[in-house]
Symmetry: C2
Subunit: 339 residues, 2 copies
DNA sequence: CTGAAAGCGCTAACAG
DNA sequence: CTGTTAGCGCTTTCAG
């Protein structure tokens, strides 16, 4: 174990501070600080000396001290329910895009669709004093909502539009998305329609899509012939199993609406294995418009959502600040593609 | 604009500090601090008063001040090349698992397989003084490597084992994984083997798998009959297109090794559309063992990697600290499944 | 059981 | 152009 007195310039026991750099360069902390930040009014010689010194000790600034001093951080917090759902990964990707080059940095928290974890995640984020927060959905419990309202930073709720926003919103009406798909399928001549979904009790957006879908059916004198739901995370596996089960009971369905594309993929695989023609004997409809949809050997319907764009716009809103009169609500309606 | 003097307890112009809470509770900052942290030796009355005050103003501690003061953070940095590749999302998922309940928090950075962005991401992370860093791969450029070596915190390199580690490593030999798959396919009787991959110039792990694969073929007197590679990100779409192209030139291939399962999925879809029997006339082999592989209507080969487990173990290593003599290298070899 | 003082590393504001 | 002072919000001493 090295003692402090053993330290040398290239030592790594303790990260070099600005003071170390300054001393080595033979200037004051302030001059070093200014030189490193490229401020005007610093002599060429000082800049040079400081840069050499900084490089020599491998100086990396301390953002904790910087942010504490500046009373603000460059952090943008993003709270999403899941990472294994590629949709949210793509939202993050859009966030990363938009953040690039702005000097801001994004920080993520995952909730697993658990309101308690969501509360904790948001609290954690807030304790780092981010410049803004992006959270998924509009249905936070009161406790969480109060926390967000008291935060005094821009809050952007994404992926949903049905509800009462805290501050800004970027997303789509999930209810309408479900309804629109129902209408499209009815228009395409389908009448014996089933539903397959996962974790509707936790995923309020999937729940809203189903609700919108069912209501639109109702308005057209139809009802769901049958449905299968489970609490498992949505995967192709689960979609396949539930589809097999549903079709076992209702073999004459001519259409199934799935809670998303992953589930729908499983449905497609079941049909292919069982020799059921898609879409001739049965139409498969998913949600999101994920990449693989276009390369499937059969055509399925889907609602193409603008996930990256939503992430990008959310960041923009935060970067633009809270100027009055600026639009705080953005609709990115999905485009329906029947395949 | 409110002036400071307008502030009330429930005001949100400026987040409440410990001092605000203390004043409201009629105790000193220290007593408030101790009460909030559940320290021993605080009177019941004080605890109560402080908690009420904290709740009243919606107090959220300031982690910047806390960490600066404590000279350490609860942060674990994770630097990955991509989020839209579900594999890394699953690694993060494992990280999140392992972090849960430890009081630590994970922070992610994404590099897009770009060494410059990787350097920046790591520097950014380091400026927050994390307790440890998890980075992907063993092939960082010298500059980045020096940065990591000087950081004086546990560094865990994940997903690869072929190379010279900086500190700790958790992963698998990509070269060996490729070789093992080659041997398995040869053993299964395949001889006319092709390859389809994406972004091998950036994804060094995919590159290593291909290299190991080719070398194993060579040792068995075989060579790749043909291959198709592109610089695009790996998707089912891309896999499908490249497969179509490759089979156009070499229709008599009896096997294709893909850079990963996503690409392989595209290959499967092409074969199904083109009426090519899988695996009878052609075997399809991917990598990772993603969920959907098991629900595909045809059987494909894959190497099942232990992604979550790798993420978990990486966190463990950091949490366990740098005790001497502790194992710093962990092999999680994938299991080959021929379908 | 409680409080006052000092300091974490940095920068804004003010002097030279 | 350069340096000094003060302070960001918290905790760790050290005294009561």
């Amino acid at each position: 174990m090295k003692k402090p007195s053993d330290r040398t310039a290239s030592d790594t026991v303790r990260r070099a501070t600005l003071e170390d750099v300054a001393r080595l360069a033979g200037v004051s902390k302030m001059t070093a600080s200014r030189a490193l930040r490229g401020a005007a009014d610093v002599s060429k010689t000082s800049i040079e000396k400081v840069q050499v010194a900084a490089a020599h000790v491998g100086y990396v600034g301390n953002n904790l001290a910087l942010s504490l001093s500046a009373q603000q951080t460059n952090l943008i917090g993003v709270v999403i329910p899941s990472l294994t759902n590629i949709v949210f990964a793509e939202v993050l990707s859009g966030v990363a895009d938009a953040v690039e080059g702005t000097g801001r940095q994004s920080v993520f928290g995952v909730t697993d669709y658990d309101p308690d974890k969501e509360y904790q995640a948001i609290r954690n984020m807030l304790s780092w004093r981010p410049a803004g927060l992006i959270v998924t959905g509009l249905d936070q419990p009161d406790k969480t909502r109060r926390l967000l309202e008291a935060a005094d930073i821009p809050i952007v709720q994404i992926m949903d539009l049905d509800g009462d926003p805290i501050d800004a919103v970027v997303g789509l009406s999930q209810t309408r998305a479900g309804a629109d798909m129902a209408l499209a399928l009815i228009t395409a001549g389908r009448r014996k329609i089933g539903y397959v979904g996962c974790s509707l009790n936790r995923d309020t957006r999937a729940y809203k899509r189903r609700a919108g879908f069912v209501e639109a059916l109702d308005q057209n004198g139809l009802t769901l012939v049958g449905e299968r739901c489970s609490d498992a995370p949505s995967t192709a596996q689960e979609g396949r199993a539930l589809t097999a089960d549903l079709l076992g009971q209702f073999p004459d369905l001519d259409c199934i609406y799935f809670s998303n594309d992953d589930m729908a993929m499983g449905g497609v695989f079941h049909c292919m294995s069982a020799g059921i023609q898609v879409p001739d004997s049965i139409m498969i409809a998913g949600f999101n418009g994920l990449d693989f949809v276009d390369s499937l050997p059969v055509k399925i319907a889907t609602s193409r959502t603008q996930r990256r764009e939503i992430g990008r716009r959310a960041v923009q809103i935060i970067n633009d600040g809270v100027a009055d009169g600026v639009q705080r609500s953005f609709d990115f309606p999905p485009m329906i593609d029947l395949g």
